[in-house]
Point group: C2
Chain length 197, copies 2
C-alpha cells in the first residue's frame, strides 16, 4: 500500500513517453531519496521549458526569444536553409557540427493516414522566406521514411519554379553498420548512390 503522493508521481511519470510502470516507480523512489536541490532543479527545468521556450518567428526552431539561437548567430551562413520536420531534427543536425547554415522546421511531414497535408505544414512560410532571403541552396532533410520522402518530393516540386538549387540528404548504409544486416531498401539506395573513389 502506497502513500497517495508517491502513487500520484508514479502515475504522472508513467504517462511520459518511453517510461513504463517499472521505470516510473524507479524514478519516483529516486526522487524520494534524492537531495531536495536535485528535485528543485528538475522542477525548475520543467517549469522553465513551459514558460520560456517558444518557436522562432522565422524558422520555427525552439527559441527563448523572438528568434532562435541559430537565427540570432551572425556567423551562420544565411544562404543555406536545411528543411527538417521537427526541432529535434535541428538538434540532430547540429550534433554533427558539419552544418553552418539556417533551418526551417516544417512541424511534421505529409501523412494522409494521420490527415496531415501540405497545408498543415509550414511550407507557405518557407516559400515566403525563399522570396525574401538570399537563399542559394535548400537542403531537404526530412526523415528517410515514407512520410519524409513524400514531403521531400512535394517540396522539390513546389520549389522547382523558384530556381533555387534543392538537395536531399544521401540515403545509404549507416556508418559502423554491417552489410549483411542492411535491409533491402537501404542497400538498394546505397547501390544507387554509389560514388567513384
Amino acid at each position: 500500500m502506497f502513500s497517495g503522493a508517491l502513487q500520484d508521481l508514479v502515475e504522472e511519470l508513467a504517462s511520459l513517453p518511453g517510461v513504463g510502470p517499472k521505470g516510473a516507480s524507479r524514478i519516483a523512489f529516486h526522487v524520494l531519496n534524492a537531495p531536495a536541490e536535485e528535485v528543485d532543479r528538475l522542477v525548475g527545468a520543467l517549469s522553465a521549458v513551459k514558460e520560456k521556450v517558444r518557436l522562432c518567428e522565422r524558422c520555427f526552431n525552439v527559441a527563448e526569444a523572438e528568434r532562435c539561437a541559430v537565427c540570432l548567430d551572425p556567423r551562420r551562413d544565411q544562404t543555406v536553409i536545411c528543411v527538417v520536420e521537427e526541432p529535434k531534427d535541428v538538434m540532430a543536425v547540429e550534433r554533427t557540427r558539419e552544418y553552418h547554415g539556417l533551418y526551417h522546421v516544417l512541424g511534421g511531414a505529409i501523412s494522409p493516414i494521420r490527415g496531415i497535408g501540405p497545408d498543415q505544414l509550414r511550407i507557405r512560410e518557407l516559400l515566403g522566406r525563399l522570396g525574401a532571403e538570399p537563399v542559394a541552396e535548400v537542403i531537404l532533410a526530412t526523415d528517410p521514411n515514407i512520410e519524409g520522402e513524400a514531403t521531400a518530393t512535394y517540396l522539390a516540386r513546389a520549389l522547382r519554379t523558384l530556381e533555387v538549387p534543392v538537395t536531399r540528404l544521401a540515403s545509404g548504409l549507416p556508418v559502423g553498420g554491417d552489410l549483411e544486416y542492411a535491409d533491402e531498401v537501404t542497400l538498394s539506395r546505397a547501390l544507387e548512390g554509389r560514388r567513384t573513389l
Copy 2:
C-alpha cells in the same frame, strides 16, 4: 543549437535512473508540446513527494503521516511482520494482495562490498518491535540474492533467542517460466524445496 531551458531539462532528465540521453530529449520535447496542465500535474507531484512523503515511525515504509497506510489500517494482522529491504518491496508484496500483516523496512541489505553492515540497517528497531508487539511470525522477504540471503541468515540468527517463528520466502522456478532456461541455482533451490502433491 538548443535553447538553454530545453538543454537544461534534457540534462536534468538524463540524470534520472533508466533515462538515457535519447529518452531525456524525447521526454523534453513531449513536455514542450504537452498541455500546461499536464506539466503542472507532474511538477506538483514531484514537489508533493518531497514535501509530504516521509518514513513511517514504526515500520519505515513510506508514509504521509507519522505512520504509514499499512500501520494505520486496523484490519491488518498485527501479529505478522514481513521484513523487506526497501519500501518498493512493500509495494511488490502488496501487489500480490495475499499478505495482510505488517512490514518492517530494513533500509537495505548487508553488503560488505558496499560497506553496509547490520548496524546500518534498522535491525535494532525490528528487535525493539518484537519486544513490544504481539508478534507470532516474522517473514524474511529480503531479495533472493547474495546480500539478501546474507541478511536473512543474519536476522534468523539474531531472532533465534526471541522464540518467535521465523520464515523465509520460498525460492524456486518463477511461474510462467521455462525449466529449460532456469539457471542452475534456481533449479537446485526448486528441487530442494519440492513439495508433496
